[in-house]
């Protein structure tokens, strides 16, 4: 060795570790992970029990979801990393951290100006709908302040450390802190200042940098420190560790756009990110191989030391999750699993399996060395196994769920089928959170209970001397080179230049250049008369972001067949040019909303927002009753704004019609034929209740009983919310819909009429299109509905009554319903809903009388009770009934 570890150079002042700050941050980490995990469990519970804790704004799914991830990010991992830095920086630099007072300031800012107020503000409705950037901007100010203070606290001691003497963990600490200090404000602020697709390019950067350049470097720094410290043997190769470090910092920042594959972001940026993702996989293989080889001859200690076991597990998962990330960035895989629960499983594997296990290992390692601290190995052991159990169950469950979701989205199965299929998987995911929170609770017990640490350094030191002296490494390696340090040989200079340089590179390659290409694309393709959102729509957009809508509903149709077929034309760059910030989203639980413009009525949206299950019986969407005054019929201004926004999404694209888009270089899409018109999936307003494009349904005038039974099942899952379980028009949503849902026992509809209604919906009412349903399902529903009200025959009118009825009809009904009763009168074109076509829709006598007497509220049909005598109304209804199924004018027998 050349010199004994006991030798202290003259004049050298040994630093003292501030164990108080380590304890504070350690306890803060565990307390916040418990709270954050509780948020996660509540969020997961709401998937299966969407009304659970659904009565107040602060406890809604979206806000708890924001707090779950931000709590893990800042509270748990942030505090654990800071605690680690207080322990490791003095050991790597032989310098104390800059200041204890500064440390106290960082502690208070991090926890009481970032984490706690961040949670509170999100619950109060102040947030930012950007992945990994959900805390509001006012909190971001304190995050940046804390990061700068951390640079002073932890990087300053590295100032006098020559690059050749700095251990790899120090490189990762410096690199991670410097990069994050730059990337955080960019990722949080730029999407607020740069609209739509351009902002998404920067969002993608931060989504990945948060994990790749903040969490990963500090977790890898922990692994590189804990493994040799626990095994008392140096790592396998410092060269490989440094190679891994530089490759990681070079490649990781270039990954960001792989979160938006098949989007409107230039394909050149997407492909660059995909290639970087694959490269990253190789880099992680290098890093993990080096770390695992560092356990050579010490593998038995993995079983004996919980700290080492946590770290070892984290390292193994680091390999798995990184290779998974590389694979899922590749386009054929990405098109299948993106937006699905697979990605949620992937992120939990990364944040729990890799980052949290590694952080737990480091905390356990440190805690055993804090003089006088309590530490329970037994509790830690239980913690490890509970966390492992919960994680494995969760990841296996979500990965499977994601594959199933992805497969269903590729097929023509209705969207709700994918939701229903996920119920057991989401329940399993919820259950898997229980051992995880129990594991973290026992981890806290492990740090708070058990015997107090003793001074046992002497024993460990003798072990170190033995193992190092018996090591089989080349002794020549240890002597190193004695050189006069130049400015560039100082680690902080190298790390700063490189860290800033890599940040700048990614900022330019994946942010600036794509943004410039997008602007050129927008200039070339945007309609010249595109209008920004109205004030109401803009307010609604803020509410949409505040409530986390973008975390279940994407607003981007990708350029893949499955998306286009289901939702419509791919999202073009210009569509979001006024969106600050973009709300593209990275997850689909509900359907994409990019083509929502004018698909549904205000009534439908109000009713759906108040209680989603009233309109969509199997929906898991949370209700938003605080946006209403007691019922869906009494929306507040916020509900009106939100509905105005949702109904406006995709408006300009729809109004632009079928336009040819000539893409500029770098913007070409795979399989893009250049025609980006309004898709065939978009329902069209129909006249006379018939649409020649409607799917042809088999005639069900004499339905098979088996079809009727099956049709009722389909009806209950899709229609009962409005029409009621008994199809009597008295569903839970009916009270707030105008016109009211039809009582299907009172109206006989022909197969062609039902086909048109199911295919297009009924424009002007809350009846949506059901093009998602399979043809078999549509036929079965048709059979069921037709079984409820048979076609009426007989009871022909006498000649006198027929003549009278004709006269009444000609005088009062022709302008809307047309001379032949086909709903094609001269006024029909301006009416929504369209007047009924009596040749394919036959009301029962009772219903006919009610309608003619009282009219249909919410439509143009007036009541005639005060204008026509009862006998004329009676004859008129019978006359109308006689039109059904007749091509000719009704005649007397």
């Amino acid at each position: 060795l050349g010199e004994s570890p006991n030798d202290v150079k003259p004049g050298e002042v040994l630093p003292k570790t501030d164990y108080d700050l380590i304890r504070w941050h350690g306890h803060a980490a565990v307390i916040t992970v418990l709270i954050s995990t509780l948020f996660g469990i509540l969020v997961a519970t709401k998937f299966n029990f969407p009304s659970f804790m659904g009565g107040h704004a602060w406890e809604t799914w979206g806000r708890l979801r924001y707090n779950h991830t931000q709590g893990i990010f800042f509270g748990w991992l942030g505090n654990a990393f800071i605690a680690f830095c207080y322990y490791v920086v003095p050991r790597l630099t032989k310098q104390p951290v800059t200041s204890r007072k500064l440390g106290m300031a960082i502690f208070w800012i991090w926890n009481f100006a970032v984490v706690v107020p961040g949670w509170a503000l999100v619950c109060m409705g102040f947030s930012q709908p950007l992945e990994w950037a959900e805390f509001p901007i006012v909190v971001d100010v304190f995050v940046v302040l804390a990061l700068v203070l951390m640079l002073i606290q932890f990087v300053k001691p590295f100032l006098r450390v020559p690059a050749g003497e700095l251990y790899v963990s120090g490189w990762y600490v410096i690199g991670g802190l410097i990069f994050t200090t730059f990337a955080y404000p960019i990722g949080n602020l730029v999407p607020e200042l740069v609209a739509g697709a351009k902002g998404a390019a920067f969002s993608g950067l931060w989504i990945h940098d948060a994990v790749g350049l903040y969490v990963t470097p500090l977790a890898v720094a922990m692994a590189y420190y804990v493994i040799p410290a626990e095994t008392r043997r140096p790592i396998y190769s410092h060269f490989l560790s440094m190679l891994g470090f530089w490759l990681l910092f070079f490649i990781y920042p270039l990954n960001g756009t792989h979160h938006y594959v098949y989007s409107a972001i230039p394909m050149s940026a997407q492909r660059g990110a995909i290639i970087a993702s694959v490269f990253l996989g190789f880099d992680v293989i290098l890093v993990v191989t080096n770390l695992l080889l560092s356990l050579r001859g010490s593998s038995g200690k993995v079983g004996g030391s919980v700290a080492l076991r946590f770290t070892w597990f984290g390292v193994v998962v680091y390999l798995v999750v990184s290779l998974q990330g590389s694979v899922q960035a590749v386009m054929p895989v990405n098109r299948m699993i993106h937006f699905s629960d697979w990605v949620i499983g992937h992120s939990h594997l990364a944040m729990i399996g890799f980052a949290s296990f590694t952080a737990a290992g480091a905390l356990a390692h440190i805690w055993r060395r804090i003089p006088g601290a309590r530490y329970s190995e037994r509790a830690m052991n239980w913690s490890f196994w509970l966390l492992t159990l919960g994680l494995m169950l969760m990841v296996a469950d979500l990965t499977t769920a994601g594959l199933i979701e992805g497969q269903m989205w590729v097929t023509r199965a209705p969207w709700m089928d994918s939701v229903r299929t996920m119920y057991p998987y989401w329940l399993t995911r919820d259950v898997s959170g229980l051992p995880i929170i129990a594991g973290f609770l026992l981890f806290w017990v492990g740090l708070s209970a058990g015997p107090r640490n003793e001074l046992r350094v002497k024993t460990q030191r003798s072990a170190l001397q033995t193992e190092v002296s018996l090591g089989d490494d080349d002794p020549g390696e240890r002597s190193g080179l004695r050189r006069e340090p130049s400015i560039l040989s100082y680690a902080y200079v190298v790390a700063f230049v490189a860290g800033f340089g890599f940040f700048l590179l990614s900022f330019v390659v994946l942010g600036i250049i794509p943004a410039m290409q997008l602007q050129a694309e927008i200039n070339r393709t945007a309609p010249h008369d595109m209008q920004p959102l109205s004030a109401s729509e803009q307010r609604g957009r803020i509410i949409y972001g505040r409530e986390g809508c973008a975390y279940c509903h994407t607003e981007q149709v990708r350029s893949i067949d499955a998306d286009v077929r289901r939702f419509g034309a791919p999202t073009a760059a210009w569509e979001t040019q006024y969106d600050y910030p973009q709300l593209w989203g990275t997850r689909r639980i509900g359907p994409d909303l990019a083509r929502e413009y004018d698909l549904r009525t205000d009534d439908w949206h109000y009713t759906h927002l108040f209680n989603p299950r009233s309109t969509v019986p199997d929906s898991i969407m949370p209700g938003f009753p605080w946006l209403f005054q007691g019922s869906a019929a009494h929306p507040t201004g916020e509900a009106s704004d939100l509905v105005a926004y949702v109904r406006s999404i995709g408006k300009d694209r729809a109004l632009a019609g079928a336009v040819q888009i000539v893409r500029s270089p770098g913007m070409e899409m795979d399989g893009d034929d250049g025609s980006q018109g309004v898709p065939e999936t978009r329902p069209r307003p129909t006249m006379m209740g018939l649409d020649p494009a409607a799917v042809l349904l088999a005639s069900a005038e004499s339905p098979d009983p088996a079809h009727v039974v099956r049709g009722r099942t389909v009806f209950l899952h899709n229609c009962s919310g409005c029409h009621g379980e008994n199809a009597d028009g008295a569903g839970t949503a009916a009270g707030s819909l105008l016109p009211k849902p039809v009582n299907l026992h009172t109206l006989h509809l022909s197969s062609e009429s039902l086909a048109a209604v199911l295919w297009d919906g009924v424009y002007g009412t809350s009846m949506p299109a059901w093009r998602e349903l399979q043809k078999d399902d549509l036929e079965d529903v048709t059979a069921y509905v037709q079984s409820l009200q048979a076609k009426r025959v007989g009871d022909a009118l006498s000649n006198a009554n027929l003549v009278a009825a004709k006269q009444v009809y000609a005088a009062h009904c022709v302008s809307c319903h047309g001379g032949s009763g086909r709903g094609d009168g001269p006024a029909a074109g301006a009416l929504r809903p369209s007047p009924i076509n009596f040749h394919v829709n036959q009301p029962s006598t009772a219903y006919g009388l009610t309608v003619v007497n009282l009219g249909i509220p919410g439509s143009a049909m007036p009541g005639w009770k005060n204008n026509l005598p009862p006998d004329q109304i009676q004859s008129l209804v019978r006359y109308i009934q006689m039109m059904y199924g007749n091509d000719k004018e009704p005649t007397s027998p």
């Binding site: 570790t17 050991r91 003497e165 251990y167 008392r232 001074l455 190092v468």
Partner: protein
Amino acid sequence: MINAIVAIIAVATAGVVLAWVVRPSFRSYIEKPKYTMLEDAEILQEAEMRHDEL
């Protein structure tokens, strides 16, 4: 741009690996911190122990 990035990564990595292969002094230089890390940790722990004993 993508080609340039790939080329830079490949060349830089190959260059560093080559230096590691052909220059033993570089190997010694680059591997030194993995030993000093353990030693420095030990020194600090020792010093803290002495301080606590006092």
